[in-house]
């Protein structure tokens, strides 16, 4: 009886270094951020060690500089929150729509060529994210490829303003995060038993019915993993909205960055960072809960 306990202890001891690093590296910085959010902003950035809830107050409310008693809801911040969530949702849906056929295509290739297709999916990762984002800028700018072709073909009379808009950010994020949807979808489809699809056809199901009632439920775990992998980095995206949004169309990541630089309000930045964390956790919990309820309904 003593032996298993002994080996159990050993397991824990062996895990200890990794666990210590994980706990310290995850909770330490987070704790600092939390503490900073309750301090007073210093001159030209930094913090003064003086307790204040002003940072948190400013996340949601706006106090007029010239009439301190004039307090309104901070619609500018709320707009940024909403834009971040909405754009991330759109990105996730767009990635799912584009990713599904792609993953299906790869999964239905002969086994020996699938690796090549998967390999192709990873090609964008060979180039730095920033470079790829600037390349998109080149495509959608007023004098860029798309506008030039459309003007030449006579489809439009004046260039369409795409750069520095929400549309630009959406395109950029969908492009960047697409592989994160394709890969888990492929993993799910790879395990798919195609005999079930055949069985569906044998039972006179139409193609749409097979898709809806056989394939989609079976690859659902892939969709879930993919959606989480796309949604979470999207909501905190920084580079894409920075380069394609032009500094006026902010997302949460940019709003936080602003407070540590030009805005010179570290406590507000820290409070916003924690708000982002809360939004992500809330979104995840909501997602998982609806999912569980879904599953429960089916079996019960």
């Amino acid at each position: 009886m003593a032996e298993p306990r002994e080996s159990h202890r050993w397991k824990w001891l062996l895990c200890a270094p990794a666990l210590t690093i994980l706990v310290l590296a995850a909770s330490g910085p987070l704790l600092i951020v939390l503490v900073y959010s309750f301090l007073t902003p210093g001159n030209m950035g930094g913090v003064i060690w003086q307790f204040s809830t002003e940072g948190w107050f400013r996340v949601f409310f706006r106090r007029d500089i010239f009439d301190p008693d004039d307090i309104t809801l901070n619609s500018a911040h709320l707009a940024v929150f909403w834009r971040s969530i909405w754009l991330s949702l759109q990105t996730t849906v767009l990635c799912a729509i584009l990713g599904f056929p792609t993953a299906w295509f790869i999964a239905t290739r002969p086994a020996n060529t699938r690796t090549i297709w998967l390999f192709l999916i990873t090609i964008p990762f060979w180039t730095n994210l920033l470079i790829r984002t600037f390349a998109i800028q080149e495509l959608i700018r007023n004098s860029g490829t798309i506008n030039t072709v459309l003007l030449w073909a006579g489809v439009i009379d004046a260039p369409i303003q795409m750069l520095f808009t929400e549309f630009a950010i959406l395109i950029g994020m969908a492009y960047v995060f697409l592989p994160l949807m394709v890969l888990p979808l492929y993993a799910a489809m790879d395990k798919l038993d195609f005999r079930l699809v055949e069985a569906g056809y044998d039972l006179y199901a139409s193609r749409l019915q097979v898709l809806r009632h056989v394939i989609l439920p079976l690859v659902k775990p892939g969709f879930i993993a993919g959606s989480i992998l796309v949604f979470i980095p999207s909501i905190g995206a920084y580079v894409t909205p920075r380069v394609l949004g032009g500094g006026r169309t902010l997302m949460l990541g940019n709003l936080i960055d602003l407070q540590f630089g030009q805005g010179r309000n570290w406590p507000l930045g820290a409070a916003l960072a924690i708000t982002l964390l809360v939004i992500v956790v809330a979104a995840l919990m909501f997602y998982l809960r609806t999912l569980n309820r879904d599953e429960g309904g089916r079996h019960g």
Partner: protein
């Protein structure tokens, strides 16, 4: 096993001594204003290798250096930030035994308010903050801040404003009849309101790259004269405007960081930059004027007569040297700025 350890140790020691021989200076400078030939020349003359890292705003540079562990030796803050750098102990006094070219500084830039007697800094270049307008989109008078603050119909939604607080705040305050570092609350409120309503017409608040103006992705903006000239050389439609309501003159200054890893090499580089020929190299590349005497001799012809460098005589009076504002004024500026940036 023992032998491999010994060999690898030997290799390590050899590597370390090689690294010592390979002297490096790490230059942290504004983006796209360091001519590659300048670096090559310094390396050829001294054998010291120079790495260049870019930043795009005074705030970025200040934040990064404050955090420590940056590994840089030199930085180039604007005049209104120089005192902050000195007061916070982030920079060290120049070593006059190495920086012997200090006498080359143009007398008008020698005894400056932000660093009397040039104890800590030397001029990198100086310029003006003005406007850039694409005349194919709007051909009205470019010499007014209303281009940005109350934009004509043609320019609405096509404007970029550089996110530099002091430049933009000062422009809006002057537009409302105030002065630099204005503390009159009514004028500040008016400036805030002007900015908030003008913002609706701005496309971006970015360090508008020269390309974007050349390609007419942006048709007007707040810009610095050197950048405007580089853009104009690639696109004739672009003109540089000096706001008649008042515009700022500024200077960027080379300083050696207090925690520099190679102070001596950095001082040598500072001295090198004060040679007229080298100063002219910077000017010819960046299109900003230098604070070094005698650099004109090496200047390209188009620089001497450029409208971006030579201020029109009727607008000279509108220019004034930018100053650092007192803390309480800065606080209000910051609050307005944060509101504007959101």
């Amino acid at each position: 096993m023992k032998r491999t350890l010994a060999t690898s140790l030997a290799a390590l020691v050899a590597g370390a001594s090689m690294a010592a021989a390979d002297e490096v200076v790490n230059f942290y400078n504004w983006g796209n204003v360091t001519p590659p030939e300048l670096i090559e020349k310094f390396e050829a003359e001294t054998g010291i290798r120079v790495t260049v890292t870019d930043y795009d705003s005074n705030d970025t540079a200040l934040a990064r250096i404050r955090q420590g562990g940056h590994g840089f030796d030199l930085v180039v803050p604007s005049n209104n930030y120089v005192e902050t750098w000195i007061q916070e102990g982030l920079v060290q006094p120049l070593d006059r035994d190495i920086v012997t070219n200090i006498g080359n500084i143009d007398p008008q830039w020698l005894n400056v308010d932000f660093d009397p007697g040039r104890e800590y800094s030397t001029p990198y270049f100086w310029g003006t903050t003005g406007l850039i307008v694409n005349t194919s989109v709007y051909d009205g008078d470019p010499h007014t801040a209303s281009i940005i603050l109350d934009p004509p119909e043609e320019l609405r939604g096509r404007i970029n404003v550089v996110p530099e607080m002091s430049d933009i705040m000062t422009m809006a305050i002057r537009y409302n009849g105030g002065e630099q570092c204005e503390s009159d609350m009514e004028i500040l409120r008016a400036a805030r309101d002007t900015l908030m309503s003008a913002r609706e017409h701005w496309l971006a608040m970015d360090y508008g790259n020269i390309d974007a103006y050349v390609n007419n992705d942006i048709s007007a903006g707040v810009y610095w004269n050197g950048g405007a000239m580089r853009a104009r050389l690639q696109n004739d439609d672009l003109v540089y405007g000096y706001p008649q309501e008042g515009f700022s003159v500024w200077m960027d200054n080379v300083m050696v960081l207090a925690d520099a890893q190679n102070s001596e090499g950095a001082m040598k580089f500072v001295n090198f930059l004060l040679e007229p020929e080298n100063a002219a190299m910077i000017s010819n590349f960046s299109r900003y004027a230098s604070g070094v005497m005698g650099y004109e001799e090496y200047l390209e012809e188009e620089m001497r007569t450029a409208p971006e460098i030579v201020v029109p005589s009727d607008l000279v009076g509108a220019g004034s040297f930018s100053i650092a504002c007192p803390q309480e004024v800065n606080d209000i500026y910051s609050q307005i700025w944060t509101e504007l940036m959101q």
